[in-house]
Symmetry: C2
Subunit: 291 residues, 2 copies
């Protein structure tokens, strides 16, 4: 799908990057942006990320053929309810939320009485930075976008949204909302929780000794607390489960943290190192698709 | 101290970088290198990291005024015993080991019957890479070196070793071996264990969704299992203790992982983010002194 009128609701890092990418890569695509604050709209307009700015989401979606919700996860439900009556017949609505079960269920309910269709998306790109000033037209290039259809998803709308993300340079894949939420808990939400706990537990002068390894390991902890609160709460069952599995893995390590079990300890460490190296080689993401 | 004959025992990433840095920054310093394998010596010579190569550590330390032990932590004790009888009167011996209690105690014992003096050092620089091919003359610039004197450490030798690391561009600080080991457990050894466990627990297709955040958070897990086994075993009491404190911090987060405690959850996440950001701004180590 090459939308002619693309509506981006929430013009921060992700929304702004979608606007920039659409304008750079799609022909004759007009980008309409919504933000709550006037100065955010001004920045997005000045940055060239949107062509028109609105402080009312219902006005920002009028006559749009594709609407992308880019607000924090905690606001997606309300936004869907607000825009549903204002959508054009045939309009397709998607989102960039980091959790998918709740928003896909809400999208189905909200669109039930509307002539529009909802498809859940999660472009796996971003950064710990916030705001349209950090938006980049190439943010999505080479990164993966997960589409999360459920049994009620319209196949044509699904395929149109898939095409849209590919036009922005992404690889797409499909999984159920439940599988998506389980997998992102372990590769994104749990790492965030660990990084935050690792920073929180530091005592006294220890941080003055910390180097590049610590900086890398904890960089994701510098994200916005409000955004992550919403993600954690929405995906709390999977976060608890993945944390339990991490603890089991650490218990395995502790079980061989003994000079008499040195071989087992080395094997545990080597296995993790080998898995990490194999993944690093298999992916372009060492340097791309910041999540 | 500006050594005239510097002996580097173990010419991998760290030893090779010390050789390169000494030759770049010190005047008239001849670098003698020891490695077990002939091809390692050849690489170090070819790289210009050492001037002379020996496969016997006792020959590599003859007439050296400063000896730096750069082998893995698990081999430091044996190496100290081997070289002690071959050291020149007045020679100063130090090391780059990641744990300090055991090597400082061993150094004291080994030097007791020798005319040489031991001082424990831990230059907080390095990388998950191995080998002299990754050595860099500027590896130490701007990074911190911890000196770990105990009650038996000769003050002149301590100050000479301190000067040596500063000549290589480092900031130095002093703490007891016990304090050092406690602090590095929480800023280096625990993060390594967490990164390894985070990789180890990944199931099925989850890694195919992982992005830059996961790559950063787990990069340190790609280190050599044998090196880390030795470090973990040598510092196991502190590693266990810091892991217990991390679990307590995670329990605190889990305790407010509930919609009714959303404010507490946000406060926990914001506190960690704020601490991480403050540290990031206070340090040059976001980009330097890779550990």
């Amino acid at each position: 799908m090459q939308p002619k009128r693309l509506s981006v609701l929430g013009v921060g890092l992700l929304g702004g990057s979608i606007g920039l990418a659409a304008k750079a890569r799609l022909t004759q695509c007009r980008v309409l942006g919504y933000a709550h604050r006037a100065e955010t709209l001004q920045s997005a307009l000045a940055r060239g990320a949107i062509d028109e700015g609105y402080d009312d989401p219902r006005r920002a979606v009028q006559n749009a053929d594709l609407v992308v919700l880019c607000t924090p996860v905690g606001m997606l439900g309300d936004l869907l309810d607000q825009i549903a009556p204002a959508l054009a017949p045939g309009a397709i609505v998607t989102d960039v939320g980091s959790t998918k079960r709740s928003v896909v269920a809400h999208g189905r309910r909200a669109m039930a009485g509307s002539p529009a269709r909802f498809v859940g998306s999660h472009p796996m790109a971003g950064s710990e930075k916030r705001g349209v000033q950090y938006a980049q037209a190439d943010l999505f290039e080479g990164a993966t976008c997960v589409l999360t259809p459920d049994e009620s998803t319209d196949p044509d709308a699904l395929s149109a949204v898939e095409t849209f993300w590919r036009e922005l340079g992404m690889t797409t894949l499909r999984m159920t909302p439940a599988e998506h939420d389980r997998r992102v808990a372990e590769i994104s939400h749990l790492p965030h929780a660990l990084a935050a706990a690792l920073v929180a537990m530091q005592e006294g002068e220890s941080l003055s000794l910390a180097g590049k390894g610590f900086a890398d390991a904890t960089r994701i902890a510098a994200g916005d607390g409000g955004l992550w609160r919403d993600i954690f709460l929405d995906n709390q069952d999977n976060l608890r489960d993945s944390l339990a599995r991490l603890r089991a893995s650490l218990d395995e390590m502790l079980g061989c943290l003994d000079a008499e079990k040195a071989d087992q300890l080395k094997a545990w460490l080597d296995a993790a190192a080998g898995k990490r190296e194999a993944w690093g080689k298999s992916t372009a993401r060492e340097g791309k698709g910041r999540v």
